[in-house]
Subunit: 163 residues, 2 copies
């Protein structure tokens, strides 16, 4: 899980911590976690905090006990969805916006130019438009993914073919 998480752009320890909690029938304390993974308490606090922010781990407590206990959110699909919703979708949206800006910029530049320069800008504009269309299709597909609805990757390739 550490590997998977790291590959997915999170800290490796987040995956490891989550896994320990996921495999434990009862909630654990930070002390147990830092001991199991040989991590300093600050490292545990940091990664655990981030897991909590992502909803991957919940803080619980026991009556009479003073320290905090943690347990894993065990619905993996829910977690996946949340990450796509909060992170991947934003990323693609930002890309879309950037491409839109670039298009506007090129349009303005085009008016100032003539001859081969204008031709060149026209070419770039077409290409940027294509990237823009792709990311917008991407947005839509991620939306479907988040909604748990079936989705067709072929939409991406067809977006591309029609120029």
């Amino acid at each position: 899980m550490g590997r998977l998480m790291e590959f997915w752009g999170f800290r490796r320890h987040m995956g490891r911590l989550w896994t320990i909690l996921y495999l434990s029938p009862e909630p654990l304390t930070t002390a147990e976690l830092s001991e199991t993974l040989r991590l300093s308490s600050s490292a545990v606090s940091l990664s655990l905090g981030e897991l909590v922010r992502w909803g991957a781990v919940r803080k619980t407590w026991r009556p009479g006990e003073r320290r905090d206990f943690y347990q894993a959110e065990s619905n993996v699909w829910k977690l996946l969805r949340r990450v796509y919703e909060r992170r991947e979708l934003n990323l693609v949206r930002e890309a879309s916006d950037a491409f839109r800006d670039a298009q506007r910029f090129l349009d303005e530049a085009r008016d100032q130019l003539t001859g081969p320069d204008r031709k060149r800008v026209d070419y770039m504009r077409k290409r940027v438009a294509r990237l823009s269309a792709l990311t917008r299709t991407g947005e839509r597909l991620i939306g479907l993914l988040i909604a748990g609805r079936p989705f067709n990757p072929a939409d991406l390739s067809s977006t591309e073919e029609e120029q």
Copy 2:
């Protein structure tokens, strides 16, 4: 594109280089690339080489010209697919294998144990089995994605619900 690529686990410069080439009507030389992006020739060589290995950029040449020219593979969908095929799929496969090994390990351990320890192992085994089932469903879904066939994210959630 640099941002997107970086987020996706590649070097940022790979995205930038690809974009320059993608926006250029004619193939470019490494000199032009390093000048445009203010990069040393070695950095260009490195990132460009990786792009070529991923099939994102093609090396071409002009008659009479001695140096190499590069042009972008402009079918983005094709590129995406290739990365999923070569990289993501492998990653998930490795995870599946690891979970399978873990299951075997737990099965062996179980036989040596009794009482609460055995219960504990039983719990872990169930959880690992669930992760294993999830990654196997993931493999299947990525396979569909690569094939460009429609795919249903709900399969992931149902994999999870049936224990």
